[in-house]
Amino acid sequence: MRYLPLTPSDREAMLAAVGVAAVDDLFVDVPEAVRRKGLVDLPLHQGEIEVERRLGQLSARNLAAGSAPFFCGAGAYRHHVPASVDHLIQRSEFLTSYTPYQPEIAQGTLQAVFEFQTQVARLTGMEAANASMYDGSTATAEAVLMAMRITRRSKAVLSPGLHPHYAETIWTLAHAAGGKIERLPLAVDAEAKALDAIDGDTACVVVQTPNLFGTASDLTALAEAVHAAGALLVVVVTEAVSLGLLKSPGEMGADIVAAEGQSIGNGLNFGGPYVGLFATRDKYLRQMPGRLCGETVDADGERGFVLTLSTREQHIRREKATSNICTNSGLCALAFTIHMTLLGEAGLRRLALLNHQAARKLKAGLEDVAGVEVLTPRFFNELAVRLPRSAGAVTEALAARGVLAGVPVSRLAPGAGLDDVLLMAATETTTDDDISRLCGALAEALA
């Protein structure tokens, strides 16, 4: 068994040193009745050849995004990640190290986290960012809990464009702790509706831009109204690349920004692992969830980095912690940081422009398909379209033609009465040919 270095004679020598006759003697504390003598009912160990064959077969039974015209989005985007990113995150020293508890021998990880925090803060237009959350949805839920702590209020208003998975995640995390969640019905372009739901117990309004339907909005006015009501504005971004082109949440008045960082540095991975970005204003620092890396000096006065403000965290504060999070998305955050470092401001801006351009081309293509109506008024790289029939059925029909056309809203919100709406995203990886194949297949399917 290739991963187990002990030899039979090692084991013998070690048992002798311990002073027992057999390994079984080390398990004496396990009640006799539950000690299993035989093996569990699973196959025996296998070599690389067999394991690779099995996983290869499973892989072959999926249609990879890269092998089809591909327009799925809705919170997970297919971007090109430079080859060096994946190479670097696989370096032993990054891949096989733990959370940097001993900073003197973890400066590599820590400095990268410090760079990540700074990048995230700047990108979102905020003052501080943490070392990452699990993903955008859990980051959003934690933002709601944080807003409730800060305001000592218990209600969160979820705006009409918020991704349903995010809304459900917020509900799951918040309701048990006594939070009240008011979820407004889905709508393409009605963020301002959230204002109507604000009351004296409202801790925050959660608003997404670009929203589920791809609509990008200026939230400045909303932010002012929310603040006037003594609540906080939580801005959610599921497509981090949009931050390269659109006004930042901070500029528009956000108090907390929760975002999905997958688009930068990370692949689709069927939904995970992703990386939650979490940023806020300095004044709320001590209410933040998650790890924070801070600058300090060593005994020689040299600059170095450490995990800090851990009195917020579970391992110190236990039931009074700001969150229970421990393991986060370190390596995905590293991928984000490396990709962002490669892009730089110039590259990110161009990348964002190319995404927007691809979506405009997509829109132009779709407008030529009879029966298709584009719903999204202002978009970054994603559009909602109304089809003359069930979006789910059309998507399956196009998949059979080798085209992954997008995400039907019914998949996310079956009861919302939007069964004919399809979400379609385009990115820098979308070619003109992809769009014409999509439109051709769509015209056929709708004919």
């Binding site: 002990l6 070690m14 398990f27 072959a60 700047r122 689709l268 020689d300 393991t327």
Partner: protein
């Protein structure tokens, strides 16, 4: 200038910093923000053809302030940084409770197969049958090794799994109109246990610990009552000991109408030997990034699937997989009880990338290998304990499980602390053990070697720790206080960092 600049770098003409002694290959490295690449990019993208007039004043006008580097510079920057880290691939990494075992590169390769890595979570189900089969197969393995009837795969790490488990418990109680408000957990519990209980809306009460490091059954019995929703016990516990009275814990818990949540972070010690179901467990998360070897990545990502008993299975969160007529199907919206209860833990379906790695790890080990994992992990820990017990003071008598716990009573009179020992160990080329955890043991030093260490490496570690312990007892105090000397940085000032938080880079004033 001084060519042999032991210790502090010197600053010769034009400001060049020479590497310190022994560090000819350890390059100093500034932050990206100091490397000056404000207009550079390391990514070639085509010139856009269209403008952004359609977006009006939604468009950002100010600079973001993100530096860029050409690819050679970026690669070098992160390679240099990487060399300032310790890692499993460099040496034994005995962080107790963290299970720092070998990460097979096969699993990295497989997780990157296009059909597993390059698929969207919301693709039509007909195009992801292989992915669903993999999740279903992983679920099967997890159910069989734990003996439990159900598993929720979506939780993203151990703590998230704890939350999932407690929320299922809350939902189960609520479903029968029996709202309860308290969770019991031993003082030795990992911080995530009480933090999770609080996040799930429960008050937390401590359970006392016996002198031999286990749950005090009498205290548990006394505290159990109609308000207790769950008892959270880690088993093997955070002292590295098997809870001898686990069956009694389960019996008492169930008798009080509560559920038994087991923190499965230490499952590595018993995998293939003990099935949590046989212990009466109702819910247990499994850190795939511990027992099943998905890499820690300097902090994450992990995955924390939760196995559930019959009683809790109906309250699992969405999504789950069912076998339909035309193949596997994904239920993404809760129906029935759970719909009103738990909801969903996160967007999409969980940590697929980790599922692939964990499944490959399980297939590679098989039933025989997994049992051997437990055997070797436990043997290694007991061997370390045996070889150090003359110099250091074990916290508890008797065999340990996968980790050996020492307290700091052996340091009495030396003026040295557990922290000093840890930092001195760094100078010997090893990552320190977990320190000051569990809280119930004074100056705790928790050593978990895992099963993927060779006897030779363990002996090397023992020798290093013995050397440190011997020096400590010999009164070489000053050398400890200054440690580490040999690391990329000397001891870092954590107090300063917390007092005056600098969490983002700011341009020098």
């Amino acid at each position: 200038m001084n060519m042999v600049n032991i210790g502090r770098p010197t600053r010769p003409e034009n400001g060049f910093e020479a590497p310190a002694a022994g560090q000819a290959l350890q390059q100093p490295e500034a932050l990206i923000f100091e490397l000056g690449g404000w207009d550079k990019t390391g990514v070639d993208l085509p010139e856009p053809e269209l403008d952004v007039g359609d977006l009006g004043d939604l468009v950002r006008s100010e600079r973001i302030g993100l530096p860029g580097l050409s690819e050679p510079e970026a690669v070098r920057h992160y390679v240099r940084l990487s060399q300032k880290n310790h890692a499993i691939d460099l040496a034994l990494y005995p962080l107790g409770s963290c299970t720092m075992k070998h990460n097979p590169r096969l699993n990295e390769k497989l997780a990157r197969l296009p059909g597993l890595a390059d698929i969207h979570p919301l693709q039509p189900v007909s195009t992801i049958q292989g992915a669903l089969e993999l999740m279903d197969a992983l679920a099967h393995w997890l159910k069989v090794v734990t003996g439990m009837p159900a598993v929720a795969l979506s939780p993203k790490a151990g703590a998230h799994g704890e939350l999932c488990g407690l929320l299922a418990i809350r939902a189960a109680h609520e479903a029968r109109g029996d709202a309860r408000k308290t969770v019991l957990a031993p003082t030795s519990a990992h911080g995530t246990n009480p933090a999770t209980a609080a996040q799930a809306g429960y008050a937390v009460r401590d359970i006392a610990q016996t002198a031999d490091g286990r749950v005090d059954i009498a205290d548990l019995a006394a505290k159990l009552g109609p308000d207790v929703a769950a008892v959270m016990v880690t088993n093997p516990n955070t002292c590295g000991l098997f809870e001898r009275d686990v069956l009694e814990i389960a019996r008492l818990t169930h008798a009080a109408g509560a559920y038994f949540y087991c923190d499965g972070a230490n499952f590595n010690a018993i995998v293939g030997r003990v099935r949590p179901a046989d212990l009466g467990v109702d819910a247990m998360h499994i850190n795939l990034h511990k027992t099943f070897s998905t890499p820690h990545g300097g902090g994450g990502p992990g995955a924390g699937p939760v196995v559930l008993s019959e009683a809790l299975a109906p309250f699992a969160p969405a999504p789950w997989i069912v076998h339909g007529e035309g193949g596997l199907e994904l239920v993404e919206h809760n129906q029935g009880q759970a719909a009103r209860a738990l909801g969903r833990m996160c967007a999409f379906h969980g940590q697929m990338g980790m599922f692939v790695r964990a499944y490959a790890y399980m297939l590679s080990h098989g039933a025989d290998g997994l049992r051997q994992v437990a055997d070797d992990a436990v043997l290694n820990a007991n061997y370390i304990k045996a070889r150090l017990s003359d110099l250091m003071t074990p916290a508890f008598e008797g065999p340990c499980m996968h980790e050996a716990l020492f307290d700091d009573s052996w340091l009495e009179g030396t003026g040295l602390s557990t922290l000093d020992i840890a930092k001195a160990l760094i100078d010997q080329g090893f990552h320190p053990m977990t320190i000051y955890f569990p809280l119930v043991v004074h100056g705790a030093m928790l050593i978990e070697p895992t099963e993927t260490e060779s006897k030779a490496e363990i002996d090397r570690f023992i020798a290093a720790l013995r050397a440190v312990a011997t020096a400590a007892k010999a009164g070489e105090g000053e050398r400890f206080k200054g440690a580490p000397y040999n690391a990329p940085r000397r001891r870092l000032d954590e107090t300063l960092a917390a007092r005056n938080p600098r969490l983002v880079w700011k341009p020098p004033a």
